[in-house]
């Protein structure tokens, strides 16, 4: 371990905890100012229709109203991969909840009263509310003009209601399935939507001053907000400044531009500060959910238990606009196509338009349900060939030099030793014996996730008082990365204690571009940029000290707040003295750092439509749980939960344990009771906390955790992201354990008591997807269609 890495590892406590506990932290929803206006959105009440008439003139004359805006004020279209999403519905509405107009008034009540005075006539059009309807022959198109949209990223197949399609084709899959000695196993799976339910809703306060917009917002992605707002409003991106107060929960919900452009438009039009906050009902109805998905997977398994061939079709509901799902089609190759060595493989992953609220990103997006499908399928394979599931996994997990689905060559044996660690962890606390008539089940699963690398920037200013200021566009969303990992990395590099590193809250006017806080990337991408910036500062400090101490820079040691001549303790000066001297002689000392994706290669020609063809930093997880299933009620209780997680290097173990406990519990909600779906009227049916059930204190167990360190990583000091992955295989593990307890085929999540009871009495309907064609090739969008 290098000296810097050693010093970077510590149980450094987050500096924001005290104010959060005292109730003093001011999140975006807590920000207000005298003279501020309150905004509200008129949203569509139908899932599909033509806007025959829209008249806001009466609303504009209502008491207290200061501005009204519609599609005429926002000409642009934005999106990921394809620019398919306008700010307001223009000629048609495509989902219940789609914004049609926005009002700013002196009070929220006056704004809402003005919404009621807007005349809007919508002629209903046929709606496609699920992927089966959307992919049916002659289905109405959600975007009849899809061919005219600007394509922002090349390579994805598109057509009709398929917003984007990513495909993998490596090796001769037909030959593998045609072998006379293989066992063919086929499984189908379905999952619903999951709501992030961050306690702070999406919220924004906007100003327009001196020809520029200042947007203060609850977001994970200040630069996406900046750039997307500019696109939608048709103004230069440089005209927009985004700053971010502490964020009251994100989990991916805030990984996209949301309410900001509405508030910005209203601020400009009214000349006043405008606050816009989603009501809880608006949050529920327009949540950028973890998408509902439908999966078919087939494998041809050789007599020795190796996987000769695999093919899979994954349908992801993107809702009315492509959004994050366009990108996430990429992840299927790495999640459903991950974990195991495959002889030959072909996968198609399609983002499908429906007339429903757009879906988005949610912690380990795509990976959570694909891991559920893959691990349940794996257990079905093991059963079909008469092999123990643990033995099958040991034999087949990806190891050093193995090829991934896209032909990426993996480095290091990681999953196999992690499985061994899990066996040891389980042995410490063996499965309990049930004597109360409940059925017991246990399962171990593996999962593959990644770090979303990509551009980040950092500046470190060395202050003459011996403190350093780290300036990035990183956001503190609760994980603590901005409070712990980043100052720890900078401090260890500069020989300081982390409390001496001030971390600037995100401000796009102060720091360079950043992809955002999500995808496990903060410690890795922002951390790498911060470390580079700190190294530049260290080099400068050593040069100044070399002049001051009349010693060669390479003979100097920087540690414990001092710079000393090696081997002569007390010979040098404090870092404050050196920084102060340097500031007087050369001007203030600072350093900058940048980071970008490494661009790890895939095998040439085997994937199409992927935003990421190979993983720069794979992250692996092994989970294990014990469940008890009540045969009379179908209630599932999780009795014990265990995690072995690949973290590269754990900079702050307490913070990582906190992320694992929290992530696993979010996963237990997904596995057992969290489900959102679309009713026949096109509305999301779960409109409140009453109907959307998240885990409570009484539902959870303390997770037994072992961190696996030392796997290869290009992250700074060998780190990997640790906050996103804990949710990855929870649905999978609980599902496999319930299948083992009941002896039934588990094909759907969440495992609510009615669903489990239906399994127990053999009344569960296996998922049937007529819109997934039998022949793999028939699920591919023909080129040029």
């Amino acid at each position: 371990m290098s000296e810097t890495a050693e010093k970077a590892v510590q149980d450094f406590r987050r500096r924001d905890a005290r104010d959060k506990l005292l109730g003093r932290t001011r999140y975006t929803i807590d920000r207000g100012a005298a003279g501020m206006l309150h905004a509200a959105l008129l949203r569509s009440d139908v899932p599909s229709g033509r806007i025959a008439r829209l008249d806001v003139s009466a609303a504009a004359r209502m008491p207290g109203v200061r501005a009204v805006v519609t599609h005429e004020d926002a000409p642009g279209r934005a999106g990921l991969g394809i620019a398919d999403h306008p700010l307001f519905a223009t000629d048609v509405v495509r989902y219940c909840g789609e914004p049609i107009a926005a009002v700013a008034a002196e009070s929220e009540a006056e704004a809402r009263a003005a919404l009621a005075a807007i005349t809007v006539d919508i002629e209903p059009l046929p709606a496609v509310l699920d992927m089966g309807a959307s992919l049916a022959e002659d289905a109405p198109l959600v975007h009849p003009g899809w061919q005219g949209y600007e394509v922002l990223t090349q390579g994805g197949a598109r057509g009709g209601n398929v917003a984007w399609e990513a495909s993998v084709d490596r090796g001769d899959v037909d030959a593998a399935f045609a072998r006379s000695d293989v066992t063919v196993v086929e499984s189908s799976f379905r999952v619903g939507r999951q709501n992030h339910l961050s306690l702070e809703p999406r919220a924004v306060v906007a100003n327009y001053e001196d020809g520029r917009y200042h947007i203060e917002t609850s977001t994970q992605v200040p630069w996406t907000v900046r750039n997307t707002t500019a696109t939608l409003l048709g103004v230069p991106a440089s005209a927009i400044r985004v700053t971010v107060p502490p964020v009251g929960g994100g989990f991916g919900l805030k990984f996209d531009c949301a309410l900001e452009p509405f508030a910005a438009l209203l601020a400009r039009k009214s000349g006043r500060t405008v606050r816009l906050v989603n009501s809880r009902e608006e949050e529920m109805l327009t949540c950028l959910f973890r998408e509902n998905a439908e999966i078919r997977i087939r494998s041809a398994v050789a007599p020795d238990g190796s996987i000769a061939g695999r093919e899979a079709v994954v349908l992801m509901d993107c809702g009315a606009y492509g959004g994050e799902q366009v990108f996430l089609t990429t992840m299927t190759a790495h999640t459903l196509g991950g974990n195991y060595r495959l002889g030959a493989v072909r996968i198609v992953s399609r983002a499908v338009y429906t007339n429903t609220a757009p879906n988005g990103a949610f912690r380990a997006c795509n990976g959570v349900y694909n891991t559920f499908a893959l691990e349940r399928h794996t257990d079905e394979i093991a059963a079909a060939i008469g092999m123990a599931p643990e033995a099958f996994r040991f034999k087949n997990v990806i190891g050093d030099g193995d090829l991934g689905a896209t032909g990426q060559v993996f480095e290091g044996d990681v999953l196999a030793p992690m499985l061994e660690k899990m066996a040891a962890l389980r042995a410490k606390d063996p499965s309990p014996q049930l004597t109360d008539g409940r059925l017991s089940g246990r399962a171990t699963t593996v999962g593959t996730w990644f770090v979303f690398t990509g551009p980040s920037a950092a500046t470190v200013n060395m202050n003459a008082d011996g403190s350093a200021t780290l300036v990035t566009s990183g956001v503190e969303i609760g994980s603590g990365s901005m409070m712990q990992a980043l100052p720890q990395i900078v401090a260890a590099t500069l020989g300081l204690t982390p409390d001496k590193v001030v971390v600037r809250a995100a401000d796009t006017d102060a720091a360079g571009y950043d992809v955002g806080v999500g995808g496990g990337r903060t410690t890795v991408s922002l951390g790498a940029a911060s470390r580079t910036a700190a190294i530049e500062v260290r080099t400068k400090l050593l040069k100044v000290a070399s002049d001051m101490l009349e010693a060669a820079a390479e003979d100097l040691v920087i540690a414990d707040g001092r710079i000393e001549i090696a081997g002569a303790k007390g010979s040098g000066a404090t870092i404050a003295e050196v920084a102060s001297h340097g500031q007087m002689r050369f001007g203030p000392l600072s350093g900058t750092g940048s980071f970008a994706a490494a661009g790890t290669p895939a095998m040439a020609g085997c994937c199409a439509g992927h935003f990421i063809e190979a993983l720069d930093i794979p992250v692996f997880a092994v989970h294990d749980c014990d469940v008890a299933v009540d045969p009379l009620t179908g209630h599932v209780e999780v009795l014990a939960y265990r995690v072995v997680q690949d973290v590269g290097r754990a900079l702050n173990p307490s913070a990582i344990f906190g992320q694992i406990q929290g992530g696993v519990v979010q996963g237990l909600g997904y596995a057992l009771h969290e489900e959102a779906d679309v009713g026949p009227d096109g509305h999301i049916r779960q409109k409140s906390f009453e109907t959307y059930r998240v885990p409570l204190a009484g539902d959870v167990v303390p997770v037994a955790i072992e961190l696996h360190e030392g796997a290869p990583s290009i992250g700074p000091l060998g780190t990997k992201g640790a906050g996103e992955v804990p949710i990855l295989n929870v649905g999978a593990t609980v599902a496999c354990a319930v299948a083992n307890a009941t002896g039934k085929t588990v094909s759907e999540l969440p495992l609510t008591p009615p669903r489990v009871l239906a399994l127990l009495i053999d009344e569960a309907q296996a998922p049937v997807f007529p819109h997934i064609r039998d022949r793999h090739a028939d699920n591919l969008t023909a080129p040029g269609r």
Binding site: R13, R14, D16, A17, R18, K20, L21, L22, G23, R24, T25, R26, Y27, I29, D30, G32, H196, L197, S198, L199, E200, P201, P246, V247, G248, G249, G250, F251, S279, R280, I477, G478, S479, G480, S654, A655, G658, Q661, G662, G663, V664, V665, Q666, S688, F689, E690, V694, P695, L696, A697, G698, V700, V701, P702, V703
Partner: protein, 155 residues
């Protein structure tokens, strides 16, 4: 109508419609933004305050119903910056993540650890927290902190 409340030990008078939720009066009228309006239907507990020392969801409490009563918010639990035993224990147990639930959680735990109504064991504490949702932490550290406070109180 004119409403008179005692908030954090001080008598305050202001005009509000009688059905105005207490949480809005506290936040918009008195700038006490500790209590968070999250679900506005009494499920999440993020707006919890003490009304005559009883934990109460401020979102479902019309201000007219607490006329003349004694309201204590998270801001009123401390004087200055020194944390209460509950706040200190939560900090010590590294329990905080996004922090949105903690003002209500602190209010609930303050009552739970001082009222003698909750047995000092895991199951009882978890049951008592049924009205407080946390989306980040997975609860166990919050329970550990509560038990530590209760155990210290019994010494």
């Amino acid at each position: 109508m004119t409403i008179r409340l005692t908030v954090n030990g001080e008598t305050r008078e202001f005009a509000a419609a009688p059905m105005t939720p207490l949480v809005d009066v506290l936040r918009d009228g008195l700038h006490l933004t500790g209590a968070k309006p999250v679900c506005r239907e009494g499920f999440c507990g993020a707006c919890m305050v003490l009304v005559d020392a009883v934990p109460t969801v401020a979102c479902l409490t019309p201000v007219a119903l607490v006329e003349g009563r004694d309201i204590e918010t998270v801001e009123g639990l401390t004087s200055g910056e020194s944390p209460t035993p509950v706040q200190a224990a939560l900090e010590e147990h590294d329990a905080v993540q996004c922090g949105m639930c903690f003002p209500g959680m602190v209010v609930a735990l303050t009552h739970l650890t001082t009222s003698g109504t909750c047995e000092p064991n895991r199951a009882a504490v978890k049951e008592a927290l049924v009205g407080n949702v946390c989306r980040c932490t997975g609860y166990e550290r919050i329970v550990d902190a509560a038990l530590a406070v209760m155990e210290a109180g019994h010494e």
